[in-house]
């Protein structure tokens, strides 16, 4: 008892000191413009954030995508994907009956879920594709589409969900999105020698035809699509894993 009290005092003291340090350093922040001057003065596409994300620092965005992919993969592993040994999971999930229950939402939710979902999906596609000219992009659009899926899933339950993103379909979408990003980078390397080079034109044809005045769109919309597919698949996969017990049962070889 005495030990735990002194430990708590020590923990709170260290948190206090660390927090004070963090707050002091943030309080006295003075932002130097530095390299940002370059980013804001050279126009690549109208959305400067998109230009930084996909052109100047495209490789970082690739890394962020891979964080998501990796997290989804590890979440899958937690639920029994490709383990070396399933004894523990069998112990935990072995006895329970696998059933997905409908929590019984009101008709308002059920009636609105499908139209809202459909419109959200269309909006998500628009946000993904307009990433280079409007605020938005792959991450936001993908999150919108997966929000539509989660809405339908929550309203109708897993079994009667009107939007059927199967696990396999989501896996393919995710891999396709990531591979699109990685291989477009390689394409840039083949054409110019630089990985993730923003290809302005191939034999005189721009890769993504756009109205005049937009700027050097290059491959940015395709990168956006790749990111969007991957985010949509990743978030939906995590939802499927958290909502449904069937995947665990399948993984541990039962049903």
């Amino acid at each position: 008892m005495k030990l735990s009290v002194s430990r708590e005092v020590a923990v709170s003291l260290s948190f206090l000191l660390f927090g004070a340090g963090v707050f002091y350093s943030i309080y006295s922040i003075e932002v130097v413009e530095g390299v940002n001057a370059i980013y804001t003065h050279i126009k690549i596409v109208p959305n400067f954030v998109s230009a930084v994300l996909f052109d100047w620092r495209g490789f970082d965005t690739l890394g962020e995508c891979l964080i998501l992919i990796n997290s989804v993969l590890v979440t899958g592993i937690v639920f029994g994907k490709g383990l070396f040994n399933w004894d523990f999971l069998k112990e935990v999930y072995g006895e329970e009956k696998c059933k997905d229950s409908d929590l019984g939402f009101t008709p308002i939710v059920k009636v609105l879920a499908v139209p809202m979902g459909v419109l959200l999906m269309a909006l998500g596609i628009l946000v993904i594709l307009g990433g280079h000219i409007t605020p938005g992009g792959g991450f936001q659009g993908g999150a919108l589409i997966s929000a539509a899926y989660v809405l339908a899933m929550v309203a109708f339950g897993v079994r009667r969900c009107p939007i059927r993103f199967t696990y396999k379909f989501l896996e393919s979408l995710e891999s396709f999105g990531a591979l699109l990003f990685l291989i477009l980078g390689l394409l840039g390397m083949v054409l110019s020698g630089y990985y993730l080079y923003n290809i302005r034109e191939i034999w005189g044809i721009p890769p993504f035809p756009s109205p005049p005045g937009v700027g050097d769109v290059g491959i940015i919309p395709y990168l956006n699509i790749g990111v969007g597919l991957k985010v949509l698949a990743g978030l939906s996969t995590i939802t499927v894993l958290l909502l449904s017990q069937r995947i665990i049962s399948k993984n541990i070889g039962k049903g």
């Binding site: 002091y24 390299v35 994907k81 070396f84 891999s175 990685l182 390397m189 990985y195």
Partner: protein, 491 residues
Amino acid sequence: MNLLPLIVVVPLITAVVFSYIYRSKYVKPLTLFIGFILLVLPLLGTYGPYFFGGHGIVYIGTIPLVSGIVYTLNPLKETMIFTLMLIGSIVLVLSTRERELSGVFTSLVLMGLASVSAVILTEDLFNLYVFYEIAAITQAGLVILSGTEEAYRSAFRYLLVGTMAGSILLLGVGLLLSATGSLNIGDMGRCLTVNPLTPTVYGGLLMLIVGLAYGGGLPPFHTLKADLYARAKPFVAAILQAYSKFILIALMLVVLKLFGNLPIFHTTRGVLIALSVFAMVFGTVMALLQEDYRKLLAYHTVSQGGYVALGLALGTPLAILAGIFHGINHTLYKSALFIGAHILDKIKSTDMRKVGGLLLVTPTLAFLILCAKLASIGIPPFNGFQSKLLLAEAVMNANMPELAVLMLILSIGTFLYMMKAFYLIFLRPCSEEQLREFKDVKISKYYILSLGLLLVLCLFLGIYPDIVIDRLYPVVEDIGVKWVLESIKNS
């Protein structure tokens, strides 16, 4: 054409593919194939900077600033990546002997290899953070793969602390960005030396050190790492310790490059030396108490991480060289020890109370593990001796003889527990029927071969350490902190 990014990109592409085809029956041959491809990758790059997306140096006024992301390759990084890929390749080849191998394991190992090589190669702080995070998640995933309750527990604990430590590192990167206006480590270091230091920079440094301690397994996060190594399958622990060792080296080099020439480094150095000494002492003491061979090795890894960090924290060129060289050596012989533990796990169990008398069963294995143990203690002619000698020399040159004494005492501790483990596993008498039971287990030739390969490398580096040292020294001399040497000369 400079093919440097392929070192990172090829493992990433294959990782994505493997995570998609994880149930396919071709996973085993493909894993074997990729294992050999990995060995070619470090040779692809050419020395010098590589600008991603073709965004090179831009001048604002007269100040040159790097506008995009830069990777650089030099002999130091090449050596580190080669060691990493070698260990990765060996682990992938060994994994094909597992019955339950799935593409998920291969995918995670490749993801980790790619991210750690990116952390080593990158000259960009945010890029480093991104790949550091991938490596952290990968390590947790690799531990969960072994599927026991303890593995789940330790991996979740690691991830929970990891979210905190990762966010703190990101905040630190943000603070440093706001103070310098750039993310390129060279530009940032130059900006920091010119401008007066603000509390923001101090905050950034503090957070960078928190991230370093988490990624490299220094206190106060050492117990998490030790738990992680002990709970994973032993041959997976071999790659885990390689990851964290190289992340430790890379982040230490970043701290040195950013803050090495600032007056603040004097305090930083003290903090880092204290952290590493604590890791050394703690690891050795805890390893002495262990009954389980895996845990013993796990704590040994923590203590050796302390040695590596000590060398880098001292900041003199010789000490940095010794630290990095010890890191490379440690990765090699520790992988051998973990693979040995894996064989032990196959035979019976890694609990040292349950095995004994294995010398009669597998004399080759006993000999190889004895060699690896001698290397880890630091006995000539193995590589551990060379790097520890170098480290002791560096410590004496830096005017800190007390640390040399401590290292000596800790080496005796290491000798004690390593020999205790050897006695309990291989020499302790045991009953006839138990021996017969042990003899029934067939050990794959792959394991013995890979152990042999690693030990040949250890022996080779022990006899000709100059091959590595000569490659590293010119690079290290640039990074080394000038004022430390001057202050030693003056005193």
